[in-house]
Amino acid sequence: MAVDKSMRVLAVDDYQTMLRIISNLLQQLGFRNIDTASSGDEALDKINGNQYGLIISDWNMEPMTGLELLKEVRSKDATKAVPFIMVTAESKTENVVAARQAGVSNYIVKPFNAETLKQKISSVLGVF
């Protein structure tokens, strides 16, 4: 299955720098509809008002963390199947285990490179 690059993608991170990096990389990969949110709450608002084909989120944010956001997404029928990739500096085993238990689609540890992001997106959406 080929990646539908017209899908709406949401990038969530409380660091503007990282938001810009991820947005730029997504653009380079061909995605045209990219939204950003700088907190879990802002992300939830956008998720409730839009239909996203992919969510890429940081974990360590305040007040709502990426894990809480993931659980919210997975708890609703309308969004429970949306691919959700965690991009985070949290690299302990228990973090990955907790994210997997919460239903994360894939997991990227910062710092990462463009190829890693492409691979992980491909693993949840299909080939580019």
Binding site: Y15, L25, P111
Partner: protein, 258 residues
């Protein structure tokens, strides 16, 4: 009748006050005068320790109030447990007074910020400065990509073919620069951890000050720019970057040279 316990040094036992130790026949018991001099109630010891910890006893002569010849310590008998206890208490008092003075140096003097507050602001400055620099780098990197894309759109096919590899390399380099800017996120998170640890330590020190009744602080908000063992002759002039609004501007410096 309320039974008050007391500590009899000679026997190392806590006895009810209405059971005088002198009533126990024992050949090893000291003379009556020595015994009465050395009997200390637990409450007295507790009071003394509390007073020492709270800093409410200055230059305490612990033994003077109990026994005339015990204050100096020079004539104290090493085998007298009462004297040893007071000697230990005196040493504890000395240590605590030293510690109190050290901690007072952390408590800000009136009108001063604490060093912790200043240090936290400095760390925030680092986060802000790296964020600004990173955003500038990202903007220029994005501009390179835009120029590259413009060239792809405008160049005739034959010319595009000639420089195609170079343009691809330019795009890849821009991507690498962008990704390298991710350091700002990671350093920001690490600095946040340091700030949180400082808050933790500060809270504990504040509790210690409260417990040890440190009233007057002698600390300043100045951060320490050089190591205590720094021997450079101009170390007093080495203060590092100044906070926004502090120091003088390049214009002011230029004016000084005009």
């Amino acid at each position: 009748m309320k039974t008050k316990k007391r500590f009899t040094i000679e026997s190392n036992q806590i006895e009810p006050e209405d059971t005088p130790s002198e009533s126990v026949p024992d050949a090893a018991q000291p003379s009556e005068s020595t015994a009465s001099r050395s009997e200390i109630t637990i409450e007295k010891i507790k009071d003394a320790v509390t007073a020492i910890v709270r800093g409410e006893l200055n230059n305490w002569q612990p033994v003077a109030s109990t026994s005339g010849d015990m204050a100096s310590g020079s004539s104290a008998k090493d085998d007298d447990p009462a004297k040893n206890i007071f000697k230990e208490l005196s040493e504890i008092q000395s240590y605590i007074e030293t510690s109190r003075a050290e901690i007072a140096a952390l408590k800000p003097d009136e009108g001063q910020d604490s060093q912790f507050s200043t240090a936290k602001l400095e760390l925030q400055e680092i986060v802000d400065a790296t964020a600004r620099a990173t955003n500038d780098i990202l903007s220029e990197s994005e501009r390179i990509v835009e120029i590259s894309n413009t060239l792809v759109e405008r160049l005739p096919d034959d010319q595009l073919e000639a420089v195609g590899e170079e343009l691809s390399a330019l795009d890849m380099a821009s991507t690498q620069i962008m990704l390298a800017c991710g350091f700002q996120d990671l350093t920001g998170q690490r600095i946040t951890k340091v700030v949180n640890t400082m808050i933790f330590v500060e809270e504990r020190i504040n509790k210690l000050m409260e417990l040890w009744n440190v009233q007057k602080g002698t600390g300043t908000g100045d951060l320490i720019s050089v190591r205590p063992d720094d021997e450079r002759p101009d170390k007093e002039l080495l203060n590092g970057p100044q906070k926004a609004g502090e120091g003088i501007s390049q214009n002011d410096i230029d004016a000084m040279f005009a």
